[in-house]
């Protein structure tokens, strides 16, 4: 790691003030993406602003209509929450499959979303459920949040405060993990929401995206068989040593089918 200064604000206001005056500074949440990056010397922030001690960013609220998760809430807490399991079981399941147990004990939803790693799990749920991302400045709809590989709608210095997931009628999540890193190679989050069917695909493209064709087919009939004959095009999908774009395209269908089946369709 390159040397940096370390700050640990106690409130969101303090954090905002710090990030405002430290243009080369970076926010540190759970650190499970940032610290490995720093160790490889792939980033050289002047300052780290550790937002792990800010109470306002923590906690879960579950109502009949929404699950709201503070940005600083760790994956493990979401995975184990009896209320989340009851309200949106697919969300708890997704959280229980992020990284490994040690990663889940430290990593946070805010950190994961702000990074927008194409191979992360949470973007699937945010997009699949049509969640709303709350920040220090505004609220951002899921459909407007993910902009590309490691790119989001967040401005410089804008901090995610919480994410609000509307409770769907039903939802399912299936992923095929990269065998080495266990990140998502292809994931599919399928939900029947008040606003209609949503199918979000993560891992396969530069960032999470919706699969309109599958949404249409599932709207006609919410059943795994509805997806059977569909094939996502390979163009534009990620291709690497672990999976070609063509294989990823194939897995999109398989994972979506299995996610629908998991959701009871």
């Amino acid at each position: 790691m390159y040397a940096f200064n370390y700050h640990k604000p106690k409130t969101l206001a303090e954090a905002q003030a710090l990030i405002g005056k430290l243009p080369e500074g970076k926010l540190l949440a759970g650190g499970h993406t940032l610290i490995p990056t720093l160790k490889q010397r792939l980033a050289q922030p002047s300052d780290l602003i550790d937002i792990g001690g800010i109470a306002e960013l923590k906690g879960l609220t579950v109502t009949a209509s929404a699950v709201t998760i503070g940005a600083g809430t760790r994956h493990d807490e979401v995975a184990r929450s009896a209320e989340v399991k009851k309200a949106i079981p697919a969300l708890a399941l997704l959280a229980s499959g992020i990284g490994d147990r040690q990663v889940r004990a430290r990593g946070t939803i805010g950190g994961s979303l702000a990074n927008s790693d194409p191979a992360a799990d949470y973007p699937g749920a945010v997009l699949g459920l049509g969640a709303t991302v709350h920040t220090t400045k505004r609220t951002i709809k899921a459909d407007d949040f993910f902009k590309g590989m490691f790119e989001t709608a967040l401005d410089e210095g804008e901090i995610i405060t919480k994410v609000e997931f509307p409770v769907p009628k039903r939802a399912g999540y299936m992923k095929f993990a990269n065998p080495a890193s266990r990140y998502v190679m292809v994931g599919s989050f399928v939900a029947e929401t008040a606003g209609g069917i949503r199918v979000a695909i993560n891992g396969a493209g530069p960032c999470a995206f919706r699969w309109a064709e599958a949404e249409k087919a599932l709207a006609a009939k919410f059943a795994a068989a509805s997806v059977e004959g569909l094939k996502h095009k390979a163009d534009g999908l990620n291709s690497d040593i672990h999976a070609s774009a063509e294989y990823r395209a194939h897995l999109i269908t398989v994972m979506t089918k299995r996610a629908v089946a998991q959701a009871g369709g």
């Binding site: 390159y2 095929f176 080495a180 890193s181 294989y247 897995l251």
Partner: protein, 790 residues
Amino acid sequence: MNAPTGIGASVRRKEDYRFITGQGTYTDDINRPGQAYAYFLRSPHAHAKIKSIDISAAKSSPGVLGIFTGADLAADKVGGLICGWTVTGKDGTPHKAPPHPVIALDTVRCVGDQVALVVAETREQARDAAEKINVDYQALPAVVDPAATLKSGAPQLHAEAPGNLCYDWDFGDKAATEAAFSKAAHTVKLDLVNNRLSPNAMEPRVAIGEYDRATDTLTCYSTSQNPHVLRLIMCAFIFGMPEHKMRVVAPDVGGGFGSKIFCYAEEVACVWATRKVGRPVKWTSDRTEAFLTDAHGRDHVTHAELALDKDGKFLALKCSTIANMGAYLSTFASSVPSYLYALLLAGQYTTPAIYAEVKAVFTNTTPVDAYRGAGRPEATYVVERLVELAARQLKMDPVEIRKKNFIPPNAFPYQTPVAVAYDSGQYALSMDEALKLVDYKGFAARRAASEAKGKLRGIGFAAYIEACGIAPSSVVGSLGAGVGLWESASIRFNPTGSVSVFTGSHSHGQGHETTFAQVVSDKMGVPIDQVEIVHGDTQRVPMGMGTYGSRSLAVGGSAIVRACDKLIAKGKKIAAHLLEAAVEDIEYDKGTFKVAGTDKSVNMQQVCFTAYVPHKYPADLEPGFEENGFYDPSNFTYPAGTHIAEVEVDPGTGHVTVAKWVAVDDFGKVVNPMIVEGQVHGGVAQGVGQALLEQVIYDKQSGQLLTGSMMDYCLPRAEDLPSYTVATTETPCPHNPLGVKGCGEAGAIAAPAALMNAITDALGVEIDMPATPEKVWRAAQTRVTRQAAE
């Protein structure tokens, strides 16, 4: 009642307490007073000329104590790294072993090649400074593929090795083999890639160099499997200094699997640099460096053919292999795809004619050398995939075809057509036991059950052979080895009866502190907790050749038995004197010396005490109770067995689940069954890793390593592996005193072939390792298309 502790007992390991409480001492846990830290600037190019290196800005970086380049080592006449085994090619010329500088001089030949060494007060400061070194490279075209490097027009790595050819070697009877093929009823052909692997011992390599002015002695703390060999290479070939002025300490070592046999640039550089900066110098590899610099394994491209008569009897086998050596020849690299490979191509079978050709080649990749099994997994893979394919093509049962061709138990010692003479074996016995354990008869029902779930099920066999206990010095010498491959042991009884055993074998997970103690306890009649095994320090252990090739018990253990026998002989003289009897009348059994036919006896403790307090003692006998033993085996040992794998394939994703694993091995006599089972488990896991998950990949154009971290190089996790059913049959080795054969590599040798045979059985399509999900999915698609066509 006390649990048994002798030979054959599953004694719980003596070394475990320190490991489970965090008290182990690995090399990185050692910190020397005043120590400074080394960081190596490495080449970002696979192939480039170094036009200039500017260290001026780096020199003034905070904490820097010294920055060194290849020129500095050359000025001090530091020799290059060596290959200790010379293979002679078809044309009678020795292999090409181009210079391998510790730090590159004017050319870098693989990504990660050492370019400069920075020594600083802290590790981070050393790295900070290294980033300020300005190297002007002229990038050159690179080649990473072993077949491509032989093509005309390929980038050339070394002036000393035209055409990138290290050697073109052959073995066996070409004429007899061709004659057998010409009259064969069936010929089975197969092209195979044996994928390149990264060993990935969990402990990364570490080296500390330290100079003691008072004794004018250099000490190297190193994560080595064979500290004495490292000392020999550094003193005799690199520094040109007497061995008694160099101490090598390899304390607790966190796994080796071959990768820690070799003499590496970093340990040499740290030992050299310590005198330059006047401080101990420590280097700790990170995992990224480990992927770049730890010698890789395998990387063969092979065409193989098997000739059979109309009844499925093997007539001949031939194969042609290109073996990738990487950018330079590592310590034992040349022997791996030659003598450790072709000599095993008879497998467990009576194949009368065998011919192998091997071209070893240089490419712009990390050097390749011995990795768990070293040549023998490659041989078993060729033989067992061919045999399985032959069964499929001849529509024979894979068990039947093997049994038809097994060397029968009454044929031993059995001279194969590829030089080696197998000592003993009961191949059908292991096979039958394995069939029982896997419930072969029930397979059809299990396959049907899988198919009902939409899954494909396959079963695969590997009846493997290995040659362990490397080896008779005279034999390996005649084949080009630069060293003798004996082992040494020294056993010292302390006056009150406790025992220190000094062995040249090195334990880095194998449990020698327990197994060797069992042998000594059993032979000498001393409680096991009174026996201490000392290894891994050239200053404490007089001589040794180290641990590799599953040789520790067969060779190192035999040296211990030699020393025990000498002590018993001496003890008889002391006992005879004490008991006022003739030496010839003294009988010895497990710690008791007895006058034959009487009840007069003395025990080991009394004898030992008398040796040190020789008040009543034979006049012509030296006092003291300590003996050395050297052992040079008369032959390799030949462990063998059958592994059976069963897999379930998800045709939708290509994911393979290993559903069942049965291993029945014959390791000869077993000293500690618990430890032996553990060795099999670990070996199988690495073999499954090779077949399913692991593969080093370089970018073909740039030569960049694409699998440079555990994010991209897939190591098996608990979830990827099944529980194993492990059993042994026991056919003692007839030529060493313990009757043991060696067990460390068997799993890694048998597993890849067994697993690939199972996967290809499920798919009905031949594919190469590793059977990644995408590759399996594509094969499953082919199967569907083919079925539709039928």
